[in-house]
């Protein structure tokens, strides 16, 4: 009995969080970054995927935090976890192939799903140095599927990112730097790649053979051509399935009453 909310009952962050949550299957092992991804996974854990196993990069394995941690290093991560250890464990488990799904963010994404979190502009003369990679490339290299949650602006959906921090479906082969399919480079470690980008405009997926991004669903109120115009590359809009499913009232209740009552990551929609 899932009653979907009306547009005025939820915000964009709610929609993203719920769309992201639906990418998670039950029984999956999920590796989550800080912020919205963390809320999305905890939402899945509290709805359709009670058996999902959550890994936090800092060393919490099969975590079930009763309260939303503000980051993966947070003391809130440990409570209820199967094991609290460290990064060597978390990344070893990932490289070993345990991870079904990674949840990540990014500043820029290109048509192949390559993501940049390192710098804006030329790396050697950056306009803006960002945080750097963190575990973004690692989780993305090792997981079977990866979901990115991003703000949608035309400057962020580019033909080629300034710096490939995290590998998409077609990546650079060094030393030359020519683009090749990810499969060619990763050998037996190839397990998949970015499966969805959930932006503030829509949900995007990838043709695994061409490696190219396509539009899957539009968020309510957005049209495919509008969304294509929000990309610097020629976005494939031929495979659109319709509108992104709105949050249910139950999902909204869990987000705002259970997971993030303090609006740390997801603001409440003002009534009125």
């Amino acid at each position: 009995m899932s009653v979907h909310a009306q547009p005025e009952q939820y915000g964009l962050a709610d929609l993203l969080c719920c769309a992201a949550s639906r990418e998670v299957g039950n029984n999956e092992i999920v590796f989550a970054g800080t912020g919205l991804p963390m809320v999305a996974i905890m939402l899945a854990q509290n709805t359709h995927a009670p058996n999902l196993k959550l890994i936090f990069e800092a060393g919490t394995l099969d975590g079930r935090p009763p309260e939303l941690p503000t980051s993966v290093g947070d003391a809130r991560c440990e409570m209820g976890a199967s094991r609290a250890s460290g990064l060597y464990d978390a990344f070893s488990i990932a490289q070993r192939g345990y991870v079904d799904l990674g949840f990540l963010g990014g500043a820029e994404v290109d048509q192949y799903g390559n993501v940049n979190t390192t710098c804006i502009g030329d790396y050697l003369n950056p306009e803006l140095r960002l945080t750097g990679s963190g575990g973004n490339p690692d989780i993305n290299s090792f997981a079977k599927r990866t979901v990115f949650i991003m703000v949608h602006e035309k400057r962020r959906f580019v033909e080629n990112v300034s710096y490939i921090t995290s590998p998409g479906w077609r990546v650079k082969k060094w030393p030359g730097g020519q683009f090749v399919h990810r499969r060619e480079l990763y050998g037996s470690a190839f397990r998949g790649g970015p499966s969805a980008v959930i932006s503030t405009a829509g949900v995007f997926r990838f043709d695994e053979e061409t490696g190219l991004m396509y539009l899957d669903t539009c968020h309510p109120g957005k049209t495919p051509t509008e969304i294509r115009d929000l990309c610097q590359f020629d976005l494939d809009i031929s495979r659109v399935k319709g509108e992104t499913v709105a949050p249910t009232l139950e999902e909204l209740r869990i987000i705002h009453e259970v997971l993030d009552p303090d609006e740390i990551f997801i603001p409440k929609v003002k009534k009125g």
Partner: protein, 322 residues
């Protein structure tokens, strides 16, 4: 034991000489050895080469204060309380600092290799990214790859000869002179017990030639040795110890106190410019010592951060507010 490992905050900072290759305990904004970091800034330490699994607030303090020439890591910021490292960003733009980028797993595996005495590690992470762009070998560009203190290559590619697993990235061991740790408990002989996630502390302590441990409390060594399977770092891996309550503030410590989000937010907001940083340092670091710093923070603030001992975090702390 005949020789004591005890030292003071001032002496601990003095062990870290100009130009040291330095690393730390903790994770982003948790269990960073801030009291020693502040003392390094007071002592005007220069030319540090930070090699970190990942950076955090302590990095931003050291970089802002001009202590750091080289930063070799993968991430810097204040998590929720400051989305990137404004001081590092500014110095990168001004070319006042050399940044060598690896991935997070690469940095972790580099420390694991060093801790295990291996010259390098083998991994398949981050293939096809610009982390392996040969143009972006910044220490190589700067002519610093002497093959002694700094590896001859940033990385090397090879093929797996055993199972046909494909391309492998070889990454050099993270060789560091000194690790500065901040933990809950250390014994008189150096045994460390970390509660909660230990992050990359065991590898970092073993990788370093000298390990300094600042703890919330120095406890009787026998107490820790009653449950040897709960300890994290071996006595003989630790060279110097000191007790410094709230030594991680404004970063947090599992079971003891939360991150002071408001403090970090203010730091991030005020230190986007060098003038802002200098102003902040004059207010909170220079002319202070650890006790006057705590006095300045005051009881209400610190009691609000104090962890509930059943939950291991503070149920009062509003995570820095909105």
């Amino acid at each position: 034991m005949s020789t004591s490992k005890r030292t003071t905050l001032q002496h601990a900072a003095e062990i870290i000489t100009d130009g040291s290759r330095l690393t730390f305990s903790g994770f982003t904004i948790w269990r960073r050895p801030m009291a020693i970091v502040f003392e390094l800034i007071r002592q005007h330490r220069k030319h540090l080469h930070l090699i970190e699994v990942q950076g955090g607030s302590h990095t931003e303090f050291l970089v802002g204060a001009g202590c750091v020439d080289i930063w070799e890591s993968c991430w810097v910021g204040h998590e929720l309380y400051g989305k990137y490292g404004a001081n590092l960003s500014r110095k990168v733009a001004d070319k006042q600092i050399i940044v060598e980028d690896y991935s997070h797993a690469e940095m972790m595996f580099r420390f694991a290799a060093a801790a295990s005495g291996a010259p390098y590690a083998v991994t398949q992470t981050s293939l096809g990214t610009d982390i392996h762009n040969p143009e972006y070998d910044m220490l190589g560009r700067a002519g610093l790859r002497d093959g002694k203190r700094i590896a001859k290559h940033k990385y090397q590619f090879t093929e797996d000869p055993f199972f046909g697993a494909g391309s492998q990235v070889l990454i050099p061991a993270a060789k560091v002179d000194i690790a500065v740790m901040c933990v809950q408990q250390v014994g008189e002989e150096g045994t460390v017990r970390v509660n909660g996630q230990y992050y990359s502390d065991p590898e970092v302590a073993r990788a370093a030639d000298i390990t300094i441990v600042m703890a919330e409390e120095i406890v009787p060594e026998e107490y820790l040795r009653r449950n040897a399977d709960q300890n994290t770092i071996v006595s003989f891996e630790v060279d110097h110890i000191l007790e410094c309550p709230f030594g991680a503030h404004p970063t947090g410590m599992f079971g003891r106190y939360d991150v002071d989000g408001a403090f970090l937010k203010e730091f991030y907001g005020r230190t986007r410019t060098q003038e802002g940083f200098d102003d902040f340092a004059n207010e909170w670091i220079h002319g202070q010592n650890h006790m006057s710093y705590l006095e300045k923070l005051g009881w209400p603030r610190m009691l609000n951060l104090k962890a509930n001992s059943a939950m291991n975090y503070s149920p009062r702390e509003k995570k820095g507010g909105k």
